[in-house]
């Protein structure tokens, strides 16, 4: 029977391996109302797994399971797990240890219950604001013993619904933990509490001739604890690397209240397993980060920003290669945006195009220690780029004010999109040469169903931000976008979440980018560190792991 189903089902034209095409084709008729992965334990990433061969016993067994109709769409919330509910006694305890910092007023809770994109809303009735690690430890120890779920929250700027409660989880805010602890201006190592706002840290460091190793559009609101918990990437990753490299130590409070002090400030320390790496990117599900020590680079003496226009994506990539070759060690950012992004910036934010209209735009930043050297290198690169007609127009900025203006063209695209309607956001890692193909294919695939389809992002890191807008939330449009976008990504062995993380919205799509064995091991680690599962439930790990 299964064989006939396989033959008769017409597979859609994916750019995927024959094995995965057969898998999807077989499973599709068995779950008609949902997208593929909600109940599939089989992962498209399990390319080498034995049970993909159809007709095997295991295959049949798993497909029988799929006759059960799923309750909701894969990025909707699962049912509430049997955590305790908050009682008056609980509130009395919190008020005792956090006098004046236990918030129960619904008006004050409102903004902490909704994410930045205004797409996810929880119904928490308690917001706690500790100031010290000790207080966080007391809170978690108590919640663990009472089986109360906890949602750690920093700046609440996450884009995958990971920072707000799904049900009535207690919100644990780090906003009042905003002290800088130490800064060594010889080694450049900064230690601070997790609630420090990124922009404030940047300002502090800039006065001392250093900068943070990461920078993102949300810098005015996001907190370093959240950045580390989500392994934030950002605009400087090309030059300074990821948080996995720049974070030297963490202080984390575990689910049962134990304080794990790994807040070393050493550049090199190979003594045992590097535990902090587990928590970087764990999205608040393995522990609550309370302090961070991070290695900061020197502030560059010379910064230049160039805004260029290209006719085709191929020329953009060639410009990238030319740039790498001629600017090399001074290159600190290489970002792109398409003409649709420019249209949104012009329309919704009234930001004028610095140059003439082109299909693609590049923002290049150089950072170095010598203004004359860098200007020379930059001039040579620009002359070559213009002479070879890879670039059709451009402008350069060396003054701080103009640099800010040019960066706005890239940093404010996210903001412009929120004015265009309901936004479907996809943050994808792909091989660099294929990045824009996904945008083109999506436009063709959606046709008139979407209002705008835009592509922009950290092209230098192979990271595309694909955004689709519609006047209002549109389930039919969503069904057209997903799983098309995830399957397309999986077919290139890409990542379905390059830097935004999984949170609530993408937890069930993890199998597109990680094999099921890996996901199972993640579940083991979660069970070991948080046996009751109170830390940020319903997030990051897929529902079928329970």
């Amino acid at each position: 029977e299964i064989q006939t189903v396989l033959m008769s089902t017409s597979a859609r034209l994916f750019r995927s391996s024959p094995l995965t095409v057969r898998l999807r084709a077989a499973l599709r008729p068995l779950c008609p109302h949902s997208t593929l992965t909600c109940t599939a334990r089989l992962s498209p990433a399990d390319v080498h797994s034995p049970f993909l061969a159809c007709g095997s016993g295991q295959f049949v067994a798993s497909t029988r399971k799929l006759h059960v109709e799923p309750k909701s769409s894969p990025d909707g919330a699962p049912e509430r797990l049997p955590f305790s509910k908050v009682t008056e006694e609980d509130l009395a305890y919190f008020r005792k240890i956090l006098a004046g910092r236990t918030i129960t007023d619904p008006d004050l809770l409102e903004s902490s219950n909704v994410d930045w994109l205004k797409t996810v809303k929880g119904s928490s009735e308690v917001l706690l604001r500790p100031q010290t690690t000790e207080e966080v430890s007391q809170i978690l120890s108590y919640c663990n013993s009472r089986n109360l779920a906890v949602n750690p929250q920093g700046g609440n700027t996450g884009l995958v619904g990971g920072s707000v409660p799904v049900y009535d989880e207690i919100i644990l805010s780090t906003s009042l933990m905003n002290n800088i602890l130490t800064f060594d201006n010889i080694s450049g190592i900064l230690t601070c509490q997790a609630g420090c706002v990124l922009e404030n840290l940047s300002l502090y460091l800039e006065e001392r001739d250093y900068i943070m190793p990461l920078d993102l559009g949300a810098k005015g609101s996001c907190q370093i604890g959240g950045n580390v918990a989500t392994n934030a990437g950002g605009l400087r990753l090309l030059r300074y690397g990821s948080l996995h490299g720049t974070v030297l130590g963490l202080e984390v409070v575990l689910a049962d209240g134990r304080v794990l002090d790994c807040l070393a400030t050493l550049r090199k320390d190979n003594t045992g397993y590097d535990l902090k790496q587990l928590f970087i990117g764990s999205e608040g599900t393995l522990g609550v980060i309370t302090a961070v020590s991070i290695l900061c680079p020197r502030k560059p003496k010379s910064t230049n920003v160039v805004f260029l226009g290209c006719e085709t994506f191929e020329e953009l990539l060639k410009t990238f290669q030319l740039c790498r070759g001629m600017l090399g060690e001074i290159l600190s950012a290489f970002e792109f945006l398409d003409s649709e992004c420019m249209r949104l910036l012009n329309t919704h934010l009234k930001l004028p195009n610095p140059i003439t209209d082109c299909p693609f735009y590049i923002v290049i930043e150089t950072s170095g220690s010598d203004q004359d050297h860098d200007s020379q290198k930059l001039d040579n690169f620009l002359e070559k780029a213009m002479a070879s007609t890879l670039v059709t127009d451009g402008t350069v900025a060396t003054e701080q004010s103009k640099i800010k203006d040019l960066w706005s063209m890239r940093e404010r695209v996210t903001e412009a999109l929120t004015h265009d309607g309901f936004t479907y956001k996809y943050d994808i890692s792909l091989p660099v040469e294929r990045i824009y193909q996904l945008v083109t294919d999506m436009r063709q695939h959606l046709g008139d169903r979407a209002k705008s389809v835009v592509g922009y992002g950290h092209v230098g890191d192979g990271n595309l931000h694909l955004n689709i807008t519609s006047p209002a939330k549109d389930p039919a449009l969503l069904a057209a976008i997903e799983p098309f976008v995830y399957e397309w990504t999986a077919s290139c062995q890409g990542s379905i979440s390059a830097e935004h993380g999984l949170g609530l919205k993408k937890r069930n799509y993890i199998y597109y980018s990680k094999p099921s064995q890996a996901v199972a091991l993640m579940g083991n680690i979660k069970a070991m560190l948080d046996p009751k599962g109170i830390l940020n439930p319903y997030k990051t790990l897929p529902d079928d792991l329970k």
Binding site: M386, V396, K404
Partner: protein, 254 residues
């Protein structure tokens, strides 16, 4: 009419930079600090280039008074579309005491020498906020002046200027040659495009000394002290309305 427009451009500390007072309170730290063209001067250059693009004037000459680095500011004006530059070299002690009076004497001399039809300046510089150079230059030349211009249109040998004044907008018609000073809403300065930046490198910047123009740079002003404004004190947060009323009474506010 010569069809030549002179535009004065001043090199100032970039407005996004945090200003620091020197420890001896004699002035502001300028060493190693990012400088750029005064924003109102940018607007002046943009207006001049626009007039040239409309073919109402023939040539735009950018002028700057200052040390070697002022040439960068002139290059920026050239990249925006000015045809050539004049760098009036003033350095050292003379540069420290250079103010509107000295600059207007220089501008007046150059305007005569270059047979300028119009002299366009920014209304004021963001470092000293003097708002005097345009007016003084007009007086020295005995030319009409259209200051705080938010709209400029040429009409034969006359210029119609809409001025931003306290009560609203005032429209005047003055004859050329004239001095205009640019206000914020006159235009939005363009970004210098790469092709123009490349072309600007080949444009000429002439070097002139104030003595060649017969200008005496002695200043009648002496800076006694420069200090930061008083630090804004942190506010006090109170828990309840009663606390607020209590605090207001305490500090004698009510």
């Amino acid at each position: 009419m010569s069809g030549r427009v002179l535009v004065g451009v001043k090199r100032v500390i970039d407005y996004a930079v945090k200003i620091r007072v020197k420890p001896d309170n004699s002035g502001v730290v300028t060493d190693g600090v990012k400088h750029s063209m005064n924003p109102f001067c940018e607007i002046a250059v943009e207006e001049a280039v626009k007039l040239k693009e409309k073919k109402l004037i023939k040539e735009v000459v950018a002028v700057s008074c200052g040390p070697q680095q002022s040439q960068e500011t002139i290059r920026t004006a050239l990249a925006m579309g000015a045809d050539r530059g004049i760098h009036v070299e003033v350095a050292g002690k003379d540069y420290e005491t250079l103010g509107p009076l000295q600059v207007s004497k220089i501008m007046a001399a150059l305007a005569k020498k270059e047979d300028a039809q119009l002299l366009i300046l920014g209304k004021q510089a963001i470092d000293d906020d003097c708002n005097q150079t345009g007016q003084m230059t007009a007086a020295l030349l005995d030319w009409p002046q259209g200051t705080f211009a938010s709209e400029v249109s040429l009409d034969g040998d006359k210029v119609k200027v809409v001025r931003e004044i306290d009560g609203g907008l005032e429209t005047i018609k003055i004859s050329t040659p004239a001095v205009l000073t640019a206000d914020l809403r006159l235009n939005t300065p363009r970004y210098a495009t790469l092709p123009n930046i490349m072309k600007a490198k080949k444009k000429k910047i002439a070097n002139v000394k104030p003595a060649d123009l017969g200008v005496d740079l002695t200043s009648r002003l002496e800076v006694l002290k420069v200090e930061e404004p008083p630090q804004r004190e942190a506010g006090v947060k109170v828990e309840t309305v009663e606390d607020l009323v209590g605090k207001l009474k305490e500090t004698g506010r009510i």
